[in-house]
Structures are given as C-alpha cells and as structure tokens.
C-alpha cells in the first residue's frame, strides 16, 4: 500500500489545481510523440504526424492529450487506492489498446518535463520527487492487469 504524507498530498493537489489541462495535456503528448517517435504506432488514425510541426498542430493529438491528462484526475481523487482505481483502465490499455506498458513511463517523463517548464523554479527537487512518485504509482497501476 503506498503511503502519502500530508506534505506530498498537498504538493500533488497544488500541481493539479493550478494546471491548465488544455495546455499541458497537448504539450505532454506532443513531446512524447516527438521525443519517442515509436509511440506514434498507437495513433495511426490521427493523420499527419510526419514531423514535429505537424504533430504540434494536430487537433486529434491535442484532444487526446487533454483526455489522457484528465485520466490522472482519478488518481488525484483516490490517492489511497490508485491500484484498484485504474484496474479497468489497465485492462483497456492491455486488451483493447494493446499499449506496451513501457510507454507509460515515456509519457510520464514528458509530462514531468512539461510541468517543470511551466513551474520553473517552483518545481523544486522535493516537488519533482513527489510528482514522479505519484506518476510512478499510476504507471504501475496501469500495468497491473497485463498478462
């Protein structure tokens, strides 16, 4: 069972309450598709992903980025039960979407970097540690139902 201190809960809550989902979501997914181009394999229906410019202006990418970021809201609301909270989404990613779970870490690294860019020096080492811990727990939960 993952333990969260009061400090960690408040750090996580603050990051999300000040988050512009419509900006950060697209930026994180764009960055993932550009920095780790093999992740594009899951988005063949999204149209033009030929270069960074096309990816960053693709409306389907933007919409999906927002959707994925909101997917983290469930973890935020259920910090003490993340594993069970994501069981269904884990099955979806495994059985229907067939996403290699290694990709979850790639997206979470890109999200960390986008948030770092938005918060600047406010993204202290302590905040980074807490945020990465949060994402690691979500990533682990998303991988749990794979078999």
């Amino acid at each position: 069972m993952v333990e969260w201190s009061e400090n960690e809960r408040s750090i996580i809550s603050n990051i999300f309450s000040n988050l512009d989902y419509n900006d950060v979501g697209p930026k994180a997914l764009v960055r993932c598709l550009v920095v780790y181009p093999w992740t594009q394999r899951y988005f063949s229906s999204f149209g033009n992903l030929y270069n960074a410019e096309a990816i960053s202006t693709n409306p389907k990418v933007a919409a999906h980025g927002i959707k994925v970021l909101h997917g983290l809201d469930r973890a935020l609301k259920n910090l003490d039960n993340i594993k069970a909270t994501y069981a269904e989404l884990s099955v979806l990613h495994s059985e229907k979407l067939h996403v290699d779970p290694d990709n979850f870490k790639l997206l979470s690294d890109c999200l960390t970097i986008v948030i770092a860019g938005k918060l600047g020096s406010a993204f202290t080492p302590e905040v980074q540690a807490t945020f990465q811990k949060f994402l690691a727990v979500v990533v682990s939960a998303l991988g749990k139902q794979y078999h």
Binding site: I113, A116, S121, P125, A129
Partner: protein, 160 residues
C-alpha cells in the same frame, strides 16, 4: 546493440557515432550556447535533483559531508559534470574518442552503474526545461536526449 541495459548507436569500423544526425548535432550545439554562464547553477540543480528524486544515487557519495541540495560538494560536482558535458558538445563528432579517459575513469575507478547515466540525464533535462521553458522545445528535447544517450554510451565503452 543493447549494452549494459542501454541501446548504443551503431559504430562503423572507424568507431564513429552514426546515430546523431547533422541536424541533431547542430541543434545541440545551438541550444548549448544558451548554457554559457549558467553551468554551475544548472549542474548544481541537476545533481541536487538526482540525489533527492533517486536516493539510490546517494550511495556513490558516501564520502561527502553534506548531500543536501545546493551544498558545497553538490555544487562542485555539478560544475564538474557540466564542464564535462560542455566538453562533450565540442567533441560531438567523436564522442568515443573524445571521452576515452573519462570512460576509463568511470569504468575502472568510479564504477558507476551505467543505469545512473540515464538518471542524471533525465534530471539535467528537467533543469533545462525549468531554465529555458521557451527554448527547450520538443525538437531540442529529442536532440539533447539522443546526445546525452550517446555520451552515456561513450562513457560505458571501457566497462567490459
């Protein structure tokens, strides 16, 4: 080639790193010019984050009196690392040759598990994102990520 858990770029018979394109190298060199004058600040921050976010890395620094973020040994080590990365940028056309003695140091003396090169690289990228939010675009990010991976491979050359 997957070596010590890392995918290393293919080498030709002349041992040239072929996976960094000309565009990658130009992007890295152009972006790294922004770092001038901020090396110590950036290096210190990257090492501080590494020790905080990945506490297992502290095992390599048990000889330091103070491992807190921004402490004197952390600041000094950050500067050392950044000087080496800046040097690597200047040797971007032949990282294996250029980093040979550093590779020997890491292989025979320091014996840092090469998985940690990736850890430090990640934290350096995070710092670059905080310091250069507008310049650290996705295109710059991918070029820098590839470059740091190539540096890590060059550092691992002498391990076995």
């Amino acid at each position: 080639i997957i070596f010590l858990g890392m995918k290393c770029p293919n080498s030709t018979a002349n041992n040239k790193m072929t996976s960094l394109s000309a565009k990658d190298k130009d992007t890295v060199k152009a972006f790294w010019a922004n770092v001038a004058g901020k090396e110590e600040q950036i290096g210190c921050d990257a090492v501080s984050r590494m020790l905080t976010v990945y506490p297992q890395t502290k095992t390599y620094f048990s000889h330091w009196k103070d491992l807190r973020p921004g402490s004197a040994p952390v600041r000094k080590h950050g500067a050392t690392v950044m000087t080496a990365v800046t040097d690597a940028v200047s040797k971007i056309d032949d990282l294996t040759g250029g980093l040979l003695s550093l590779s020997e140091l890491h292989a025979f003396t320091l014996r840092v598990d090469p998985a940690n090169f990736k850890v430090l690289a990640h934290n350096l990228l995070v710092v670059l994102a905080t310091v250069f939010p507008n310049d650290f675009t996705p295109e710059v990010h991918v070029a820098m990520d590839k470059f740091l991976a190539a540096v890590a491979c060059a550092l691992s050359e002498k391990y076995r």
